[in-house]
Amino acid sequence: MARRQGRRFKWFILPVVTVLILFLLVPIIFFQIFFSLHQWTAYIGEWWQAEFVGLEIFADVLGDARFYWALVRSLIFAGASTVLCLVIGFMLAYLMREPFRGRGFFYLLFITPMLVVPLAIGYNYEMLLVQKGPFNQLLSWITGQEIQVSWFAEAVPAFLSIIFIEVWNWTPFVFILMLAGLSGMPKEPIEAARVLGASPLQIFFQIQLPLLRPVIVLALILRFLEALGEYPKVWSLTRGGPGSYTETMPVYLYITSWEHFNISKGAAVSYLVLLIVAAIVYLCIRILLREKRALETLYRPSA
C-alpha cells in the first residue's frame, strides 16, 4: 500500500482530533485522581473544598469485600457468556456455511438480537422470567413437570439469567464473525484433504479450526471486554439483585456512585477498575497483534 506525501493533511487533522480527545481525557483523569484522593460528600461544599485524605479511600475500597465480589462476578459473567457465545455462534456459523434453502431467512433472524436495544432486552426478559411467567410455563410444558423457578429471587438462577440474556444478545456478533471467517476460507485445501482421505472431523480440527484462529481470538477478546462493562441489561433485569448476587462490577460502580452518592469511593473504584481493565486490554492487544502477524505470514511470503 503506497504511502503518499500528506504532511499538510496530517498536521491539519491530527491536531483537531487530538485536541478533542485530550479535551475529555485529561480532565477525566484529573477528576478521577482528585476524587479518589479527596473525600467529598456531595452537597457539602464545592468539590474543590473536599478534604484531602490521601490513600484512605483506596484502602477503603480494597478492604471492601463487595468490591472483590463485583470483580469476580464480572469476570465469571464475561467469561461464561463469551464462551457460550462462541460455542453457539460458531455452531450456527458452521451449520450455515454452505448455501441451502432458507439460509438468508435464518441469517436475518439470527442477527436480530444484536440489534435490539439492550435496555429493552432487560425489560423484556424481566417479563418473561417472572415466576408466574411464560418462560416457566414453557419449561413446564417441555419437561412435563411443574417448574416454578424464581429467576429473580434466588442467587444462582438470577446469575444464570443475566448470563443467558447476554448470550442471547450477543451471539449474533460472534456468529457473523465466524460465518465470515468460514466463508472466506479457501475451499481447495479442504477438497485436497478430502481426496487425501481425511474425515470431516479431521478436516475440522486440522485445517478449518487452525485457519480460523485469528477470528476466534478476535471474537473472544472483543466480546469479553465488552461483557466486562455490560450495564443496561443487568441493571434492568435484576438491579444487581437479589441482594447483591448479580452485582457485577458496572452495577457495583453505579450503585456506589449514584445510589450511595459516594462519589469519592466511586472514583476510586473507577480508577482501580480502569487500571485492571487497561492491563487486560494491553494483554489483548498484544495477543491480537501477534495473531495478525501470524496471519500475514501465512498468506504473504516473507522476504
Binding site: I28, L92, L115, A120
Partner: protein, 291 residues
C-alpha cells in the same frame, strides 16, 4: 447408506438445530410484540396470556402519544409524552453519528493513504475503546458539571463522537483499503486535483461502506443508555432513558406500555440492521479475516 441419503440426513439435522435456536431467538421478541398489543388486564396473568385477545393499540397510544387512556394507572406512571425523548434521540444520535462519520472519514483516509498513524497505533487506540464506559462515567459527570456541560446536547454528543470514532475510523479505513491506490494515481495523472479525486472517484466507491458505517454507529448511539442516563436529567433524555422511566411505578409493571415503547424504539434499528448486514462484516473484522 449411500452419499445422497447421508447428505439428506445432514440437511434435516441442520434444519432441526437451526430451528431450535430460531425459537430461542424469536420467543422473547414474539412475546414483546404480543404484549405491546395486550390490554392491561392481560399484562400479568397466570397462566400467561400468549396471544392478546382483543388486540389493542392503546398501549401505543399511551406510550407514544401520551394519551391517558386508563385512569387506573395514572398515579403510578410517569407518563409524559415521549415526544421530547424522541426528538432528543433523533437529534443526538443523528448529530453525533454524522460528526463521527465525517471525522472518521478524514482520519481513515489519512491513515489509509497518508499513513498519519501506523496501523499498530490505530489498533491500540481502538482497543482503548474497549474500556467499559462505566469506568469513566463518574469523572465525566463531575467534569461536565464543573464546566456546565451536564444535561446539555453538546456534552452528550461529544461523548458519543469520541466513543464511536474508533469504530468509524476503523470501518471506513477498511473500505478505503479495498480500493487500489492505482485508481487515484490514474486520476491524478489525468489531471484531477486531490479534492476531485477524492470526491469523484474515491467517495462513490466507498459510499455504500460509509452508509453502512453511519447506520451501524447510529444503532450504537440510538440504543446507548448509560451515558445518556448519567449525563442528562431533564433536558436531554433520550428514548432509552424514557424507557427506563416506566419501571418507576409502584403498582406492578406497566408491561404493555413499556413494550409498546420498546418495540417502537427497536423496530427502526432492526430494519436498519437488516439493510446493512452485508457490510457489517467487512468493517468488523479488524484485519483478522483474509479476504
Amino acid at each position: 447408506m449411500n452419499r445422497r441419503a447421508r447428505r439428506r440426513l445432514y440437511g434435516v439435522g441442520r434444519y432441526v438445530l437451526l430451528c431450535l435456536w430460531l425459537v430461542v431467538v424469536i420467543f422473547p421478541l414474539f412475546w414483546s410484540v404480543m404484549t405491546s398489543f395486550k390490554p392491561p388486564y392481560q399484562w400479568f396473568t397466570w397462566p400467561p396470556t400468549w396471544i392478546p385477545d382483543p388486540f389493542t393499540l392503546n398501549n401505543y397510544r399511551v406510550a407514544w402519544f401520551g394519551e391517558l387512556l386508563d385512569t387506573r394507572y395514572i398515579a403510578s406512571a410517569n407518563v409524559q409524552t415521549v415526544f421530547p425523548a424522541l426528538v432528543n434521540s433523533v437529534f443526538i444520535a443523528g448529530t453525533s453519528t454524522m460528526l463521527s462519520v465525517v471525522l472518521g472519514m478524514l482520519l481513515a483516509y489519512g491513515v489509509s493513504r497518508y499513513g498519519i498513524l501506523s496501523e499498530r497505533t490505530l489498533f491500540r487506540l481502538l482497543m482503548l475503546r474497549m474500556i467499559p464506559p462505566i469506568v469513566v462515567a463518574v469523572p465525566v459527570v463531575l467534569y461536565y458539571s464543573t464546566i456546565g456541560l451536564l444535561d446539555s446536547y453538546p456534552g452528550l454528543i461529544i461523548i458519543y463522537v469520541v466513543t464511536t470514532l474508533p469504530y468509524s475510523v476503523w470501518m471506513i479505513k477498511s473500505f478505503i483499503d479495498e480500493i487500489p491506490i492505482e485508481i487515484e494515481q490514474a486520476a491524478e495523472l489525468l489531471g484531477a486535483s486531490r479534492a476531485r479525486t477524492i470526491g469523484d472517484i474515491v467517495f462513490p466507491l466507498v459510499r455504500s461502506g460509509v452508509v453502512a458505517t453511519f447506520l451501524f454507529i447510529l444503532i450504537l448511539t440510538w440504543s446507548e443508555y448509560l451515558m445518556a442516563l448519567t449525563l442528562s436529567s431533564t433536558n436531554i433524555s433520550t428514548l432509552p432513558v424514557a424507557l427506563s422511566k416506566y419501571e418507576g411505578s409502584t403498582e406492578g409493571r406497566l408491561y404493555g406500555w413499556q413494550q409498546a415503547l420498546a418495540v417502537g424504539v427497536t423496530v427502526p434499528l432492526i430494519v436498519i440492521g437488516w439493510a446493512i448486514h452485508r457490510h457489517l462484516v467487512r468493517g468488523f473484522s479488524f484485519g483478522m479475516l483474509r479476504r
